[in-house]
Symmetry: none
Subunit: 190 residues, 4 copies
């Protein structure tokens, strides 16, 4: 397994995402993914150790991409609310632009494959955000209730509302996104 051709590797990521979203993990065989990527099944084993490695790498890749999009306009010197609003908007922008990445990562993280990811590897991408929340708690702007609860109200809703499988009726317009942010902020603000 040596990496040579980045174009091929990227094609494999895209093929995996497309196929898993279309037919699910259960039906996404190596042969089908290879066909979708227009390479031989055998070639996959040059780029990845095995199927599991391909799937996990695809997920981690998405998560990295996602964190970069989210933190693109991150400026820790702004007021907390503004920081979060910018994160919120950038994240929805990303969801709009790459719904297929969102769909894949939801399906992946709710499957037993998720256990194979080294959690810390992914969490580190999002560390700056946690630090903002902590500052908000320290400054008595945000409720002092633990990260788990806070993220359940300011980040998970992004996923829920972006999930076309769950929210068929939520239009991703700027107005709706800002409205939803009001609720998120009301939830966590002191």
């Amino acid at each position: 397994m040596r990496i040579r051709d980045d174009v091929k590797q990227e094609a494999l990521f895209q093929a995996t995402i497309k196929l898993v979203n279309k037919i699910g993990f259960a039906s996404s065989s190596v042969a089908k993914i290879a066909k979708e990527a227009r390479i031989s099944p055998a070639t996959i084993y040059i780029y990845f150790k095995n199927k599991e490695d391909l799937l996990v790498s695809t997920y981690v890749n998405i998560k990295h991409d996602m964190s970069e999009a989210m933190l693109k306009n991150f400026n820790k010197n702004l007021p907390i609310r503004d920081i979060l609003k910018i994160l919120w908007r950038d994240m929805f922008a990303y969801s709009s632009k790459h719904p297929e990445y969102i769909e894949f990562s939801i399906q992946f993280s709710n499957s037993p494959f998720a256990d194979l990811v080294v959690k810390k590897d992914v969490e580190k991408y999002f560390e700056p955000i946690l630090m903002v929340l902590q500052r908000g708690i320290d400054e008595k702007i945000i409720k002092n209730v633990g990260y788990e609860i806070l993220t359940a109200f300011i980040f998970h809703p992004i996923i829920s509302l972006s999930n076309r499988k769950i929210c068929t009726g939520f239009e991703l317009s700027d107005k709706n996104i800002d409205t939803a942010f009001t609720l998120a902020w009301d939830a966590i603000k002191l």
Copy 2:
């Protein structure tokens, strides 16, 4: 003539849930499910049309059970906040008691199998809840922002916080649950 055995059907539901939670949809073969339920693979096809039917039936079954638990103490004459708090608590109680049902339904509803469920069949179980939200909107107690956004802040967090895969650090204590409800209510209240 032997008679149909409801015990066997229930055993199949339980075996399906247990196995899917342990090894995921992709790896849960009919043969393995049958073995877990201690029956012949062929027998499954007496109780269900095919594998898909087994999986979907298991899900709908859980959803029905879940709705009954949630609406157990439903009393539409109480104040809106109290109604929602009771729902919230009953739902968390259910999650605590049957984490395996929650885990299965999360995995199921985020897989392509979800598309096979007739949505209306499941939604009807939860209709009384939507009516409460509507009343809250009409009485200017709840923000007028559409069901999708509201449920993203008062019901999806229950799932997120109950999801042992996502929230490893959230303890399902009464105190934590009530704290979380405060955020939910702050999010949706006017």
Copy 3:
């Protein structure tokens, strides 16, 4: 395996013929035959020892029926040619009336199941015909060339021409049938 209900047995014969003609031996399962006959699969085993017995019995039954139709107007005192022409016509009449029987018996006799039939049991039905041929040979009216060759020219063509799978273009009109008989007779006559 005791025979009680002739109606049910006949229904089984008909179901077998219909199904085998439609989907072939390979796909004609006991369960499907039972369904077609509107009885339980288990009931088949009251009337027949096993699937093989059902198929063979169906065939022998048809052959018996066929011989009766063929010999209906048999009159050994007529001239040889007339006897054969009457046989020929009656046989085509039978083919027209019961194409499904012909189709089944062709498929059956060209499958390895045919080996399971006790040949003598079937041949005895057609014995009078062989005696006519012998008389024709003795009286120097028919070529002295062995039964195998003679039947290949005066009986097998009936099957060939009645076989809708082989002869798509041959219309079973009286005129065509009589024309074909001319050829058969020319073949065997001295």
Copy 4:
């Protein structure tokens, strides 16, 4: 990369023919055919789309082979009777040499699989023969009675007489074959 092995494909054809003749279509499973050909069942699917494709290809292959044998000494400049006699003899020679091909093709063409063959693909192999018959009709040497009837008397008897299942008593000697041709010719000649 290993290269495709024509020996393997031919082995599959032979295994199919051998097995179908021995145990019939109904019992000839992919696994058994693979075992007979000494390859893995999975390998069959590299050479053929599915079981049906294997069976149909085997049949078409035989028919092609058969037509070549039949037309080997074809010379359209000879008198009609001589042309047909040569065809007749070559065909019987082929039957003698490859009784297993005959047996297979009889069983195949009388099974529902026959419907899957594109008729034209097979018929074109035998076209020169039909042209001879037409010439015979035009020259008033052969009865003007339609191809269906003519072939029922000059080609189907070859199959009947070669069929060891039907004709147990017909010896494929030159003398018998010529005798039989006399009957065939008497049948169709004017």
